[in-house]
């Protein structure tokens, strides 16, 4: 399996352990990634809030760069998925608009084409379940994560709005994390926060609202007996992990729950060590998870 790969900004910024663990995990799974190193930020909804046409053109450029490789595109960020799907919906809806946008790309020799069966851009989670396959994944597991209690945390941008995010064709996309946890041998933790918002988008605008969301979800997962959370979104990770000590102050309770990126959880089951997957870089201690993994070996 070979894919055009858009790592996003945050996986090479404040969560480099995501980019690193994705590279290791992809190789072990036999997925070849062709990085789109000329591609630009998806805008994370903020550029669309400023100027919709600007966001649409920037993402059309990324899609066109992927189309140049002749490969389907993979991203590793729920926020990229949501922002890019929103722009793709508008680009695909109107031929005249698409032609206008493509004029802006022509200087670089690029063109975004709406193919007969549509341009495919999937995050790692969707790809793993729908294209790679859970049976194939199960065959690669070297160290089943027996007894590891994992709470799924999706991130809004791969859940809503369902009409835009392919739920007509793939209605169970809101259950994939549970399926992956199960295949890796872990235990699913059922708690209220799994499909709620981490609050990150308003961290600089309303810190209290933002941290209360994160603190509540982490606390609920702890109360449900989780050893860790797993998320396919690095922006959720910024709030759930990096801001966790600050969130603890807002909700007035002790927290301290490891938050893994999806490729890290997969990587652990494939036999990689926590250090190789960058887990010591996390703010919320991953020691409890590391101890459990060590006990499995």
């Amino acid at each position: 399996m070979k894919l055009a790969y858009w790592p996003g900004c945050v996986s090479r910024g404040f969560t480099t352990e995501l980019h690193g663990s994705m590279a290791l995990t992809a190789e072990a799974l036999g997925i070849e990634l062709v990085t789109l190193d000329r591609a630009n930020c998806c805008g994370a909804g903020v550029i669309a809030e400023h100027n919709q046409e600007l966001a649409d053109t920037l993402n059309a450029r990324t899609f066109a760069l992927a189309q140049q490789t002749g490969l389907s595109m993979m991203n590793i960020c729920s926020t990229c998925q949501g922002a890019q799907s929103e722009c793709q919906e508008r680009l695909d809806a109107d031929a005249a608009y698409r032609a206008h946008i493509n004029e802006s790309l022509s200087g670089e020799g690029l063109e975004y084409r709406k193919d007969a069966d549509g341009f495919t851009n999937k995050n790692f989670l969707w790809l793993l379940v729908e294209d790679y396959g859970l049976d194939e994944l199960a065959g690669k597991v070297k160290r089943p994560l027996s007894g590891l209690r994992v709470g799924p945390f999706y991130g809004c941008y791969v859940l809503r709005p369902k009409t835009r995010l392919g739920y007509d064709e793939h209605p169970d996309r809101d259950l994939y994390l549970e399926r992956v946890i199960e295949v890796l041998g872990g235990e699913i933790v059922d708690y209220d926060g799994a499909r709620r918002c981490c609050g990150f988008p308003v961290i600089t605008m309303n810190r209290e609202t933002s941290l209360r969301q994160t603190g509540t979800h982490v606390g609920d997962a702890l109360d449900a007996g989780a050893d860790c959370l797993v998320t396919p979104c690095p922006l959720c990770h910024l709030n759930l992990d990096m801001q966790q000590p600050e969130a603890a102050k807002v909700v007035g309770r002790d927290l301290g729950l490891a938050v893994l990126h999806l490729p890290q959880l997969v990587g652990l089951a494939l036999g990689f060590e926590p250090g190789q997957l960058g887990m010591p870089k996390h703010i919320a201690s991953t020691v409890a998870v590391e101890d459990r993994i060590a006990a499995l070996a």
Binding site: C9, V10, G13, F14, T15, T16, R38, N40, C41, G43, A44, G45, V46, E49, H50, N51, Q52, E53, L54, D56, T57, L58, R61, E89, A93, D94, A95, A96, Y97, A99, H100, S104, L105, E108, C156, R160, P161, D172, L175, E178, E182, I188, C197, G199, P201, V202, T204, M205, N206, R207, T209, S210, R212, Q213, M242, P245, E246, P280, K281, I283
Partner: protein, 413 residues
């Protein structure tokens, strides 16, 4: 005809007054055609089993907006939800349709504590109960009836939902161009059912958030050319700490709205007008954050996170020479996080620590990004799929909307 089990979250305040438990779960078995609605099922339960089961409803045709509630955890109108489809969804999310893992439906954990409720797992897998709860973010008056006055309507009045024209009234009627009415069509479609308020994840964390329904209605008047208080409205909504910059962009309201109002999209349009068109530098750093983000991508192509943090709180030279007290507080609050990041190695590199060191895109890629900015900032086309229709109608849409005539940012004057 088919049989269904409804698991209803009940609340009987008079029971509480008698010292009995007021809130509990109760199941009702009903029998009806799968194409009929969940509301039909509830009314059958009320008529056949328990006349005290309280539910608000009127038109039964998704017009009056009375029967908002949560069905399988999703806020919606009970009259617009087919009972057969609700049962299938209940089976899907519980894994009883044999394709998914066993995750319990919403509030299953509380079930065991409920008075008179059957224990979990007593239902047969073929008839997974449809879980029905009152709307969220609103106090419950009785069973499925919530107090919309104390949340929804109070917030609705907060945005002054009527026209405030300026100057003397015209001799005859106001002449309004049709396209400016098309622009507000989407927010006019609201039927005040409260489903978006029920689903709002910001309001869960901040009950004072003005919220999706009221802010969508605010856009209806901000976007109306007859209104004379556009700037004042935007200034007010941008500077309220619970206003347009308190929305976390989670799409919950977009997903649940039975009328396609997409309240979050209206909030983003309010931000675009307040920020770009009126250049309102609000106390919540909303405008600073937007400008900082947009400029960083123009210069670097990908996000320089530490520069974004700095520019959100203390933008430009002025922001650094004369920072507001709130800016200093914001920057100080981020220091412990940075120190933790340096300690674990997460932020132990110059581009992550020093704003502006972040590299540009390779080769001439950054120049092409800049060229995209130049053109898009000039034309600023805003394509509204609610108005032109979505994919599948492409030819029609393409005929109707030449690039030059695509509806542009509404005039804000």
């Amino acid at each position: 005809m088919a049989s269904y089990t409804l698991k209803v979250r009940r609340y009987q305040p008079e029971a509480e007054e008698d010292g009995r438990r007021g809130a509990y779960w109760e199941t009702f078995d009903v029998e009806l055609d799968p194409t009929l609605s969940v509301l039909d099922g509830l009314l059958q339960a009320r008529d056949g089993s328990d006349g005290t089961l309280s539910v608000r409803c009127s038109c039964r045709a998704a017009i009056c907006g009375s029967c908002g509630m949560k069905i399988n955890g999703q806020s919606t109108l009970a009259c617009k939800t087919r009972i057969g489809e609700a049962a299938a969804e209940a089976a899907r999310i519980s894994g009883a349709d044999a394709s998914g893992p066993l995750i319990s439906p919403p509030a299953e954990k509380e079930l065991a504590d409920g008075d008179g409720a059957p224990g979990p797992g007593t239902e047969s897998a073929g008839n997974e109960p449809i879980v029905i709860e009152p709307m969220g973010n609103q106090p419950v008056i009785k069973d499925l009836v919530t107090d919309m006055e104390s949340t929804h309507w109070k917030k609705f009045r907060r945005v002054t939902p009527w026209l405030l024209p300026s100057g003397p009234p015209p001799e005859r009627e106001h002449i309004v161009p049709p396209e400016s009415m098309v622009d507000v069509t989407q927010s006019v479609a609201c039927i005040q059912c409260g489903a978006c308020v029920s689903a709002c994840l910001s309001m869960e964390a901040d009950p004072e958030f003005i919220g999706p329904a009221a802010l969508a209605k605010a856009y209806r008047f901000v976007g109306d050319p007859r209104d004379g208080q556009t700037t004042e409205r935007l200034y007010d909504l941008a500077n309220d700490p619970h206003g347009i910059y308190d929305c976390t962009h989670c799409f919950a309201c977009v997903d649940v709205c039975p009328k396609g109002v997409a309240p979050m999209n209206q909030i983003m349009r309010l931000r675009r007008l307040a920020g770009h068109d009126h250049d309102i530098h609000d106390v919540n750093n909303g405008r600073n954050h937007e400008l900082g983000f947009v400029k960083i991508i123009e210069r670097k192509g990908t996000l320089d996170e530490s520069l974004l943090l700095q520019e959100s709180y203390a933008p430009g030279v002025k922001g650094k020479l004369l920072p507001r007290a709130a800016s200093i507080k914001g920057l100080l609050q981020s220091i412990p996080t940075a120190i933790r990041g340096i300690r674990t190695g997460k932020m132990r590199s110059l581009p992550k620590l020093i704003p502006g060191v972040h590299p540009k895109l390779p080769g001439d890629a950054q120049d092409h990004v800049k060229a995209i900015y130049d053109r898009a900032e000039e034309s600023r086309i805003q394509l509204n799929l609610y108005v032109i229709g979505e994919g599948g109608e492409e030819d029609q849409a393409a005929e109707a909307v030449e690039p030059e005539s695509v509806s542009e940012e509404p005039s804000a004057t």
